[in-house]
Amino acid sequence: MTVDYIFDFLTSLLDGLIGSDYLLLLAMLIPCLAIFGFITVYALVVIYAELKVSSFIQDKVGPMGQGVGLHAGKWGLLQPVADALKLLLKEDIIPSSADKPLFILAPFMIFIGAFISFVAIPFGDSIIVADLNIGLFYILGVGSIAVLSLILAGWASNNKWSLYGGMRSAAQIVSYEIPAGLSLIVVIMLAGTLNMQDIITYQAGGLFSWIIFDNPFMPVAFVVYFISAIAETNRTPFDLPESESELVAGFATEYSGMRYAFFFLSEYANMFVVSAVAAAGFLGGWHSPIVGIMDSSAWGVFWMISKTGFLIFVMIWLRWTLPRLRVDQLMNVCWKVFLPLALINIFGVAIWTVVFNS
């Protein structure tokens, strides 16, 4: 369901009524709105999931209500809606000594970074906004916009805590991009392509054709990628840039209302992006684990979403279980453990491929 497909469809429907330039614009606008809608709905769902999963882990009930009056709906289902409304209605404060243009720019930039990553994420065998031939590379590239906006937010707030948060996030995200990228190189080596759909097609044929089971190095690569991905999204145990008990709220200290909501939203959006990349790159994407069972195009969407959802659940699970690392330990893990592991993986897979697969 790419832009071309929509364009063709619109052309056949509205041929001659509207100029083709406008049709192309419309064809681009529709997936944009679809992604935006998807992110919003997904954020509401995952916030609710986070509340409920954390409640379960912490032995409490979490949001709930009787569906009467101001309660948060049945089982607290309206809680995320209420949260979103609260953030929307809050006063928008810009500190008087902040660097105004940058301060306003930062939350939009981080959201754009997360938003345009969705373009290359395959939800099904034909459901992808743009089937780029450098899909994986593109996602890694635009994902890096986040770090720029976090530094901007930290600097523009003119607050020492924000500055600390910004500096920490810069160091952290830049460092963890490397093991994450190197782990994905292994995937590219096996699949021989950067195209997301081709990587998934390469994994056709059931559970044991998935890249994670391709050879003994791949589970390691998966774990390195996944942990690095958690670090890139600033989630506990790597939430140093906003560690609330140290830096108050880190880079987001001075943000409130809708601007804060954008940081919030893009954190969840980034969680989806990195989980989807992990699902597509290692876990067979939209393929069913067993050939022939629930293996149609429509089921593909289900598999993709549930694999991604499971990884997001793991992220939530980790967040509510583990304490936070210290800043030097974080760097140690990255440079002294993950980077060598990722490099060894590359050589290992290369040799493995030469010896067994050729």
Binding site: S54, Q58, T236, E246, L322, P323, R324, L325, R326, V327
Partner: protein, 373 residues
């Protein structure tokens, strides 16, 4: 590895900051993430406790002691009434004594639960904190059952107690202890042996024994430095000499003696000892005895002064009471254990990273109500 020195930045941690456990301001000099010097500024919660006490009668002081260390009000009451009874030479009956011990030890469990939980929270572990609060809630329910209050009890009075134990208290307490005892092991596994937690606390903020004594640090913080010093054992008051319990000390299991992990672990073990003490005290609790028996009609101590120490969950709690023979204290000074514990912060936390400093602060278990008074 060479150390790069940059320009120093002065940073105010607090008075409104999630990790300062109240309204405390730490002015720190930072060089990047490294904190070179810490200057605490106190007094944001100063409520003129000592000045107030000079203007109210002796029994009216008790509610003020509640409000000093609001997380261990029972032991604050306990220390004051022990001092007053020494000053007035009052002997109270065994039932009162055992009830006081039960309350003080339950309070110690509650206080340590919060201390260890909040310590975890300072390190980013949210879940153990809520598990501990869940169990602390049951202790508070027990207190509510006894005296109606959940935080500030005003329960122990000079020469007695405000109420006798309610019906069913003993059974309920035993039920709680049976439920709670295995939970302590769970907390130990959940937090104490977590790899990241150990990395964050072992060998961090080491307080050698001499430093601890020189800075007047007492209680679990001193014991974590390897000194077996517990007023319940070394200078027994009330009926602690009739109870059998151990004083856990820091052994440096995960790192060095006196590090943050030891301070955490000593508290956890003290919870176990307190469970043991409560069980013994319940066994020995006399069936009869009027809790108001020895209460004087009018509290008017003879002229003189007393310095009396008791063991609060945070350390040696001293009351210096000077009486001039009138109805109001001439001077009442509280020697607060958290006050001295905070004093050592610059010594043991200077030179560490920002995250470590806040972890060390959490491991000292300070309560600002008691520091500022």
């Amino acid at each position: 590895m060479g150390v790069v020195h940059g320009q120093e930045m002065v940073l105010n941690i607090g008075p409104q900051h999630p990790a300062t456990h109240g309204v405390l301001r730490l002015q720190v000099k930072t060089d990047g993430e490294v904190i070179s010097e810490i200057t605490p500024y106190l007094g944001y919660l100063h409520r003129c406790f000592e000045k107030h006490c000079e203007n109210v009668s002796y029994e009216q002081v008790i509610p003020f002691t509640d409000r000093c260390d609001y997380l261990a009000s029972m032991t604050m009451n306990f220390g004051y009434v022990v001092a007053m009874e020494q000053l007035m030479d009052i002997k109270v009956n065994d039932r009162v004594q055992y009830i006081r011990v039960i309350m003080a030890e339950l309070q110690r469990i509650a206080s340590h639960l919060l201390a260890t939980g909040v310590f975890g929270l300072d390190l980013g572990a949210f879940t153990p904190f809520l598990h501990m609060l869940r169990d602390r809630e049951r202790i508070i329910d027990l207190f509510e059952m006894t005296c109606g209050a959940r935080l500030l009890y005003n329960y122990m009075w000079v020469g007695g107690l405000s109420h006798d134990l309610p019906k069913g208290f003993v059974e309920e307490t035993l039920r709680f202890l049976d439920y709670f005892e295995p939970k302590v092991d769970e907390f130990e596994n959940l937090l104490g042996h977590n790899k990241i937690f150990v990395e964050r606390t072992a060998d961090i903020g080491i307080m050698p024994a001499e430093v601890a004594i020189n800075y007047g640090v007492t209680g679990p913080n001193l014991r974590a430095s390897g000194i077996k010093w517990d007023l319940r054992k070394d200078d027994p008051y009330s009926v602690y000499d009739r109870l059998d319990f151990e004083v856990p000390i820091g052994l440096g299991v995960k790192g060095t003696v006196g590090d943050s992990w030891d301070r955490f672990y000593v508290r956890l073990q003290e919870i176990r000892q307190s469970i043991n003490i409560v069980r013994q005290a319940i066994d020995k609790l006399p069936k009869d005895g009027d809790v108001h028996q020895s209460m004087p009609k009018k509290i008017r101590p003879p002229k003189g002064s007393i310095y009396s120490r008791t063991e609060s969950p945070r350390g040696d709690l001293g009351y210096y009471i000077e009486s001039d023979g009138s109805d109001t204290p001439y001077r009442l000074k509280m020697r607060s254990p958290a006050f001295t514990a905070l004093g050592v912060l610059n010594e043991i936390a200077g030179g560490w990273l920002m995250s470590d400093v806040l972890a060390i602060l959490g491991s000292l278990d300070i309560v600002l109500g008691e520091i500022d008074r």
